[in-house]
């Protein structure tokens, strides 16, 4: 029974802390996020296994985690409210060229971040070329450039 409780405890702990840490969370990994990720996995890994490194325990914990995750997905799929609680909702940061500064301040996102994503994803050179910028649930910022909208096509590849 103990490995199951440990797995549930660790899962809930991480869900709680990661969800409350804000939507940028660990989706866009900077070098410090990577260090944090390594440290957290090391720390929680110890608590997850304890001093029992048997294959049976590893199997129980792995299966328990996968089952909880599946349950989590099912709940989020069935109830929209729970989906928001567990997985958050997207947020428009630039709407038709208008920058929502209050939202960006709350989400700790700078214009630099948006422009960087614009360059990476859409080859955007300046802010005025961005029609929409959306902070997605994953923490990624998706950019829709003005040109793409004008010719009525979706974003071109490359």
């Amino acid at each position: 029974m103990e490995p199951v409780l440990r797995a549930i405890g660790c899962y809930l702990l991480l869900l709680f802390v990661v969800r409350l840490s804000g939507k940028r969370g660990l989706a866009q990994i900077t070098i410090f996020d990577l260090i944090l990720l390594l440290l957290i996995s090391q720390t929680v890994g110890q608590a997850l296994i304890g001093d029992d490194s048997s294959l049976t325990t590893a199997a129980i914990i792995t299966i328990t985690l996968v089952v909880i995750n599946r349950a989590n997905d099912t709940v989020a799929h069935r109830w929209a409210d729970m989906s928001h609680v567990l997985e958050d909702a997207p947020l428009i940061l630039i709407e038709n060229g208008v920058v929502h500064e209050d939202r960006m301040a709350k989400m700790k996102i700078r214009l630099d971040d948006i422009l960087e994503n614009g360059r990476l994803d859409e080859g955007v050179e300046r802010l005025d070329q961005i029609k929409h910028a959306i902070l997605e649930r994953s923490g990624d910022i998706s950019i829709i450039a003005k040109e793409h909208d004008d010719d009525g096509q979706g974003p071109a590849g490359g």
């Binding site: 929209a80 928001h84 909702a89 997207p90 428009i92 709350k106 959306i134 909208d149």
Partner: protein, 166 residues
Amino acid sequence: MPGPAPPVVDGLQIDQALDFQRRFARVQRVAWRLLALVPVAAIAGLFGGGLFSEVTAGSARAGVTVTYDRFARRTADTKLEVEFARPARTTDVAISRPLLDRYDTSEVRPPPLRVRTLADAVVFTFAAAPAGRATFFLQPHAIGSSRGTVTATGGTPVHVKQLVYP
């Protein structure tokens, strides 16, 4: 239907759930403050082994004082220090079974001359130590409140209570 179709905002079909996001932002602000308190509480000793975590019980009348952590964590070492008010040639320290059975004893310093297990207590007999003190290094293996008594030869029982976290 896998959920309702998201509304169209300025040409974008997107469900921002802005009301939810506003409410959740409030929850996050409160939660952040609570999370920030966790390391402070840990330093203070709320989770065992901090600045104010030690408590001393006992008196001259009990013949013994017991110093221990108010809080401990399962499988993490914790210390129970027993100081004898009247060091004699030998001193018996009886720790009640309901207390001691919830711990693994990793070490007793100085090593006792003799250990007897009774129905309701374990009695450790110590030779007269210069400092008149014995230290038990314990590892809790039961979660929750651990209560019991420590009694020295000729003294009254000293009540010990420790909360063990998972």
